[in-house]
Symmetry: D2
Subunit: 268 residues, 4 copies
Amino acid sequence: MLRAGDLVFLWSPVKGDSFLVRLSPGATQGSYLGQMKHDDIAGLEYGDVILTNRGEPFFILRPSIGEYSRRVKRQTQIIFPKDSGFIIQHLNFGPGATVVECGTGSGGMTCVFAHFVGDGGKVVSYERREEFSKIAESNAERWGVRHRVEFKIRDMKDGFDEREADAVFLDVQNPWDFIGVAHEALAWGHRLGMLVPTFNQIERALDALTEHGFVDVQVLELLMRYLKTDPRRIRPEDNMTAHTGFLIFAAKAKPVPRREALTDAESA
Amino acid sequence: MLRAGDLVFLWSPVKGDSFLVRLSPGATQGSYLGQMKHDDIAGLEYGDVILTNRGEPFFILRPSIGEYSRRVKRQTQIIFPKDSGFIIQHLNFGPGATVVECGTGSGGMTCVFAHFVGDGGKVVSYERREEFSKIAESNAERWGVRHRVEFKIRDMKDGFDEREADAVFLDVQNPWDFIGVAHEALAWGHRLGMLVPTFNQIERALDALTEHGFVDVQVLELLMRYLKTDPRRIRPEDNMTAHTGFLIFAAKAKPVPRREALTDAESA
Amino acid sequence: MLRAGDLVFLWSPVKGDSFLVRLSPGATQGSYLGQMKHDDIAGLEYGDVILTNRGEPFFILRPSIGEYSRRVKRQTQIIFPKDSGFIIQHLNFGPGATVVECGTGSGGMTCVFAHFVGDGGKVVSYERREEFSKIAESNAERWGVRHRVEFKIRDMKDGFDEREADAVFLDVQNPWDFIGVAHEALAWGHRLGMLVPTFNQIERALDALTEHGFVDVQVLELLMRYLKTDPRRIRPEDNMTAHTGFLIFAAKAKPVPRREALTDAESA
Amino acid sequence: MLRAGDLVFLWSPVKGDSFLVRLSPGATQGSYLGQMKHDDIAGLEYGDVILTNRGEPFFILRPSIGEYSRRVKRQTQIIFPKDSGFIIQHLNFGPGATVVECGTGSGGMTCVFAHFVGDGGKVVSYERREEFSKIAESNAERWGVRHRVEFKIRDMKDGFDEREADAVFLDVQNPWDFIGVAHEALAWGHRLGMLVPTFNQIERALDALTEHGFVDVQVLELLMRYLKTDPRRIRPEDNMTAHTGFLIFAAKAKPVPRREALTDAESA
């Protein structure tokens, strides 16, 4: 049975209008199809239907984690589920991981990361602008993952406190300025990720990765296309998001030993 | 320090040749650049470099989880990281989840799921063909997640044992035949997912979802494009995977109450 | 020097606002940046700048042919330049060709075809609904290619008058119903094309093509993505058209002779 | 009836194996399905079937123009039909046009352009390396459009001989070096096009276009995806070409008059 504090996803069959809500006593969720009282949702269960004051049905569903990032109160660019799902896998943001995020922004990605590291893991999220960090903190509170995140307000050029981190993710305009400090924070053989919107940023980021000896460098982009769901007229939607950003990944590794050194070692 | 039983990702700067390996005493990893003894890797650390018997360097990196699915010993179609990352988020395969997989196949996806549910979660994976289930079991053993998976060999039309599952994923040729039993196994308000390669399968799956009252139905596809990493000649790769499959998602929900019923309730 | 009757493309640097106009004495082109009198454009030349009554500049450019289809007065779905360019090449709509179009619609594609067949070629365009044919005729008049098009109003199931046509293009909801009559109209070894928006239509069209012995069947789709043009921030646009339609092509060919017949012929 | 000198497209139902051939007395077309004598094809007609010496059928079809570019004897990068079809429309390479091509290469694009300008039009194609120009000339001969092309061997930095050209297309590695001379050759209000494979080239080209006052600048890319044609298993092909190049277009225009000048004019 749902109660205050629970997260619910409200979905209407009318144009797929939907909301991600944490139930709060006395609160009301507005929509252009009418209003719903949180107190009327409490006491129901996932899968039930709530009607607005105008009689329009909303289904009460369990939220998808990808929604955490898209539904934050935000003032910055969000990261889409298509991208965050790939990041989570490539950087191993699984249960128990300790990860560093550079550029908290509105905290959408922070919350997704925090979900996947579980109670045994930790996300340390750095941000220079205090006002963003505060928004992110409230979003983390709302999504129920606040206890897994350490928010730090700092000019990140001064470096990160962490060492041997399982992964580092840079979500800033100038990631090349932080590749050195990311290298310091990251465990050997582990991976760094970043997302940049422009080709020009890729160019500078690649130069910085080379300079710091990163290997297994990958640059990629993901495109997502929804299809219409009428079974007699199946076709892609008319419009799609053409671009969110380019993902860049690389692993921290030691240099290949010089041949002389090899010979010495082998002759030893 | 790496030791027998640890998983390592061996990556060569020559054409990105790479291997996902569980270290085993006495074993040897072959490659067209020469051989590496597992015993020589044990004792080193992530980030170190191992040289083949022909002097070619391989970097010893921590594996990415997306690789689990691509690197299994397999006889069936694999699921790509671009797809599995989205599935994990949309179906909430996070720490502690109990999920049902219909169609173990070679177990690549099973292992990815098992990674993300953590030690507090559980994957129950059904397969009709015993030989596949055995391969999947050995893959799960290899990726270190065997203890989180229950493999069941059965004709799935007889139904699943589970009830109130957090999520169900169907990876079979005829998912429409299992939507009824998936409905039984799934918790209310939770989500079902499936992956089908052809349009014709979408059509039949959509009909079956409607018949069982599923809501928030989504059909989508993801395209991934790698870019070349020469900073002075940044451009997409010449070729890409054009298609893996269409992802279909839907949530289990109760029917909208009829208007009469509403009136009764409201007048009560 | 431009004069009444000439076609001009008016392009504003403000958001790329633009118009395709045939100069007409006394006429005025409105825009949210102000108005321009056609008579003020006459007397200028391509490459010149015209100012609206509010002092906003519009460049007077030569129209691109792809615009013919997008800028028609229309009540039906248009065909995009990305698609029409491919059709023109695959069906050889070059100078001197005689081509049959089934489904005039608003005539946008008719005009593009008519441009490329030149004065030595001919487009015969069939349409069931007289009101559409009339709109198309006025569009062809406007784009200056009316003399190359024969418009016929007819239920096309009764067949086409032409035989030995260089190409046939079907732009109707149910192309499978016209593949028989298209076969009759088309020259041997020449190609038939069609555009359909849904997967379900592909299925039926493929069945009909097989039934009539067409060969070299191709089904494809084209995706076009614009990039932003700030040289310091080059990146794809945020949004794009995700789908216009699937293109289907096939060639009319005789059946492969049976082996017996072969033997007879060879022994003769 | 086909005769020596005619162009035919030979298409086999076995894996779509195909050839674009100009019939030449005494010549033989080899294939892994056996051989065909040109003299046996002469006398047949489009739509007929020819059997190889091993009894395998090839259909004799009319060539598609898009094939001209893909099937040239070549030593350089080709331009794909998806791209050339868009170029033709955007640059108005229709009947009667006079166009300048900078970078003949193997002449594949030259031939496509020459097809569409017709006998009343002309393509002037510049190339620095004589050996390429010779290959292109023989390709144009082969596709029957030699008489519409003027090949010039020259370092194009010295400029083009033409003025008031209907369109200019640059297909060279360093298009920015030729934007000045292209501006000289092009008619006012008409369009320049180019194709570049890398982002870095876009950046330099955009700077050069701005410097020369071009307007209506567009950068775009086209993606083409084939679908499998089994009507019961409709799905995209497994692989596709991920990238050929970015298309850049711009129009030559006069500068916007300064405000003072305006006032003078208006007060006059």
